[in-house]
């Protein structure tokens, strides 16, 4: 697609988005005066495809472990459906971009469960070790793999302290166009970058909220007015393996 057609497509999309939003606004007003519906979470602002990423932003997640229930795997399912990775019955080689972890204190017996995914480190070891630069951190803090230059050496998997990455061991079918994958390359949570760029929340966050748990909060860690920054300022939170000093973009509350 050349520049002109990209621009046309963007204008068309913006026009449609405007009409949809206008329609939704009219519907909201018509439903009942005085009642406000939270139709549009204000977490992210849509970014034009040709616009550079805003380096003043740092996207992050806050996971409230107390709100995460043991039997719920909605975030995992939502991620799998959104990004097209499936568990094919071979746990050794199946990709898992997000997993539910259960930890138990062997002395007290106290247990907790919560999701773990790529922690989108500020100083990501996977990016440091990648020989070709396929592992990279976007200016807004999202850590990604460029599938076009990943040579499949798996050194990033050796380096990741969170076991967040998977290697594609088998040929793939039925891929999602917004989340391209490739046999012989490494992949991990993208923080649903395709959704974030269009102003939406990651699929796991949205699903957790719609299931009524609200254990996951997404937002701009650098914006003091964002919900996530306010929560981080008000409550004690933790980073997994904080001792490594990686400045993770994913934080945990009540862990």
């Amino acid at each position: 697609m050349n520049n002109t057609s990209l621009k046309d497509a963007y204008i068309e999309k913006t026009r449609r988005d405007f009409l949809k939003k206008a329609g939704a606004g009219v519907t909201t007003l018509a439903l009942a005066s005085g009642v406000t519906l939270m139709a549009y979470p204000q977490a992210a602002q849509a970014r034009k495809p040709e616009e550079p990423v805003d380096p003043s932003q740092r996207w992050g997640l806050l996971i409230d472990v107390n709100k995460c229930t043991e039997d719920c795997t909605a975030c995992v399912t939502a991620c799998s459906e959104e990004n097209g990775w499936k568990q094919g019955g071979n746990p050794g080689i199946d990709a898992q971009w997000i997993r539910k972890l259960k930890i138990k204190n062997p002395k007290s017996g106290h247990e907790q469960t919560f999701p773990v995914m790529c922690q989108h480190c500020g100083a990501p070891p996977c990016v440091d070790v990648c020989p070709t630069g396929a592992s990279f951190k976007r200016a807004d803090g999202i850590v990604l793999v460029d599938k076009h230059i990943c040579i499949g050496c798996r050194y990033c998997m050796m380096a990741c302290p969170y076991k967040a990455r998977s290697f594609v061991h088998e040929p793939l079918t039925d891929q999602k166009s917004h989340a391209p994958r490739g046999k012989g390359t490494v992949e991990s949570c993208t923080m649903c970058v395709h959704r974030v760029d269009r102003g939406d929340q990651p699929a796991c966050v949205e699903k957790c909220a719609s299931n009524g748990h609200g254990a996951l909060l997404f937002g701009d860690l650098n914006d003091p007015n964002s919900d996530i920054a306010k929560r981080l300022a008000s409550y004690p939170t933790k980073q997994i393996r904080a001792d490594l000093g990686l400045d993770t973009g994913v934080r945990y509350q009540n862990l």
Partner: protein, 405 residues
């Protein structure tokens, strides 16, 4: 130094073609294994998302590390002026290049996207120790190639020493880089130790000398120019010193880890876990690859001949493979510690010891790499005058005869 050393190519008789054919079978098997994995994906191997590096890496890193060590003999001759080693330095350089080529073949063909090999050169992340190694490996080939050229060209005598020194420094850097691939992995309890660099240097000197002894001994025997007994013992003892250094660095590494409570788990797992890694560590690396070869080369009352050195070299190589298996696979099999002191479980094998069974294609690919190294060595010996016509002690260094044993 024996003056007027005359070098010659090895013959091109039936025996050599039979050896080439034998190695050719292994190369063909390795090529078939590569195509199989390339087509089906790494599901055809025993490697998983827990054990991401397996048997191909054991072979590749052994060959790469041994390559650097195979240059020992040339370095001792050129850099340290030990005249008895000088006639063997051409062979030393060629074997070093051949082993490195074999190792790189395995490493590159195991990539998830081997078709993108060129990307490793066109896209470069200078912060990656892996990327540094690409420069170190390419540089090693170029420098040792130039070193060989000045050794084999008339009138280049004065350049031998500077190139020898450059090659010596470069190979130390190369093995430092290879060790640091593991040493700089801060995330994993089994690695994350700066001592990996000197450990790998010691390993390279030991494994490389062992490979050199076997290749020169066998070639000498097959081409009617047997390597002198005193020279063989000298090489054997050199290897023994390096094998002792490997044991020393291994001891310091494990004692250091045992002292830190955070590493106690992985040490318990490797040293006393009663698993395959425990067996390979104590039985393979320490006993077969360490103590027995040391006893063989340093015990008094040497018997006639040098068969004990040959056996010791063979055992050092076997122990080397065991050691690399423990470091590479064992280091990954021990689960990553995300929450120290907690019991962890998940659908992604958190908190579970990783299981790994090498598949046939992985082993075939690794052996194919060894065969590539050997074929390059044999063909180089057929094409170039690498070995002196006479490898006897008297021809290599008259002093050797006097000091023999």
């Amino acid at each position: 130094m024996a003056k007027h050393v005359t070098y010659s190519q090895i013959g091109t008789g039936k025996g050599f073609y039979s050896i080439l054919a034998l190695f050719g079978v292994f190369i063909a098997a390795g090529a078939a294994a590569f195509l199989h994995v390339e087509h089906h994906g790494h599901v055809a191997t025993g490697m998983t998302n827990q054990i991401v590096w397996g048997m191909p890496h054991v072979f590749a890193i052994f060959l790469i590390v041994a390559a650097s060590g195979a240059l020992n003999v040339a370095s001792i001759g050129s850099v340290f002026n030990k005249s008895a080693y000088k006639p063997l330095s051409r062979m030393s350089g060629v074997l070093a290049m051949a082993l490195l080529a074999g190792g790189l073949v395995v490493l590159l063909l195991d990539l998830g996207r081997p078709d993108r090999m060129i990307t490793a050169i066109t896209h470069y992340n200078f912060k990656s120790i892996f990327a540094w190694n690409i420069i170190l490996y390419s540089g090693f080939m170029a420098i040792v190639g130039a070193y060989l050229f000045v050794q084999m060209s008339l009138g280049m005598e004065k350049y031998k020493k500077p190139f020898g020194i450059l090659a010596f420094v470069w190979r130390l850097a190369l093995t430092t880089g290879t060790g640091s691939i593991f040493g700089w992995l801060v995330a994993r309890q089994g690695y994350d130790a700066a001592i990996m660099a000197p450990l790998f240097i010691a390993m390279s000197l030991s494994f490389g000398t062992a490979c050199f002894i076997l290749v020169v001994k066998y070639t000498g025997k097959a081409t009617d120019r047997p390597l002198g007994t005193a020279m063989t013992w000298r090489l054997g003892r050199l290897m023994g010193v390096m094998a002792a250094a490997v044991l020393y660095f291994t001891t310091v590494r494990h004692l250091g880890n045992l002292y830190a409570a955070e590493h106690a788990g992985v040490e318990q797992f490797i040293l006393f876990g009663g698993n395959i890694f425990t067996t390979l560590f104590w039985g393979g690396q320490v006993l077969i690859g360490g103590l027995v070869p040391l006893a063989l080369v340093f015990a008094p009352n040497k018997v006639e001949g040098s068969s004990r050195v040959t056996l010791a070299a063979l055992l050092v190589i076997l122990g080397g493979f065991a050691q690399l298996y423990v470091i590479i696979v064992g280091g990954q099999a021990y689960p990553l510690v995300l929450f120290p002191g907690m019991e962890v479980s998940s659908s992604f094998a958190d908190g579970v010891v990783g299981s790994y069974t090498p598949s046939l294609p992985e082993i075939a690919l690794g052996l194919g790499g060894v065969a590539v190294a050997m074929v390059i060595t044999v063909m180089a010996m057929m094409a170039f005058k690498l070995l002196p016509k006479n490898l006897s002690d008297a021809a290599l260094d008259p002093h050797l005869v006097a000091k023999a044993k």
